[in-house]
Symmetry: C2
Subunit: 136 residues, 2 copies
DNA sequence: AATCCACTTGCAACAGAGTTGCAAAATATT
DNA sequence: AATATTTTGCAACTCTGTTGCAAGTGGATT
């Protein structure tokens, strides 16, 4: 529980109960979470707006990153400690069509892609859909 | 202009002016379009709701597919004729951070990825962000 | 532990995106 | 031209996300 305070302090953030609870939710559930998921988990305790603002702050500080699939926007913890300046920008996410969960796949590189002339790539985001180990 | 009617008929759709105009917009502008883009282009002529429903219909019939980036949802024409049953599911999209346009990159395969044990992939969606030929 | 300032929260109100029900209009078929 | 079926426009609504502001809290200082 003190680890939470450490993480927040490490990103120059005041420790508030909402931030601790949101961060802790991301850590215990390991999959990507939408605002709605968090509202479901903590909604009694905090205002909708506060959760939105917490997510925005965590994004800016590099604690979480956006995850997109055709159902909408989710967030997941950044694996290697990202900071405000330095972000790890290549992500692979796996969305299970059975259980609907989306997870980051760590320790896996996106293979190089030969882009046509003139395109300059900055970052890559791969979304794989299929069946996860739990559901197959 | 008659090609539009052919395409619609080919997907068992009645030809209406709205559908023709939406389809024609996708063909002339070649990049991915959001509902807002279409509303901007044709908004005087058709109701918001009608454009939403047209997009939904086109999606179901496999005429267009979803394209996602962190700014939201867009749609783009399916390259090889997709049908209601058979969809080409691997897509590479390039989003230019300068001009904001998102385009499908055709004729380019996503290299194989070694997924951890237990994961079964069905389709791949790669979003590359960077600078496009026009802007570099 | 009391004070202070800056930051954070809750509330209300708003803006935008997307959906649904229903009556009127348009399409394709005979 | 008449018909059944599909599509459209309108109104109303839901869901997601944002903004301004006053009240409350965190944490550094004394």
């Amino acid at each position: 529980m003190d680890q939470l305070r450490e993480t927040l302090k490490g990103h120059q953030l005041r420790t508030t109960t909402c931030r601790e609870d949101v961060l802790s939710t991301f850590i215990t559930k390991k999959n990507a979470l939408s605002h709605g998921d968090l509202e479901g988990a903590l909604g009694e305790n905090y205002d909708r707006v506060t959760i939105y603002r917490t997510l925005k702050t965590f994004l800016e500080k590099g604690i979480i990153h956006k995850v997109l699939d055709d159902e909408g926007l989710r967030y997941a913890l950044c694996s290697h400690s990202c900071s405000e300046e330095k972000h790890q920008h290549d992500h692979i996410h796996f969305k299970c069509s059975e259980c609907g969960e989306t997870n980051c796949i760590e320790n896996l590189h996106i293979p190089a892609v030969q882009l046509p002339m003139g395109y300059q790539a900055q970052n890559f985001n791969l979304l794989i859909q299929g069946t996860c180990p739990k559901c197959s």
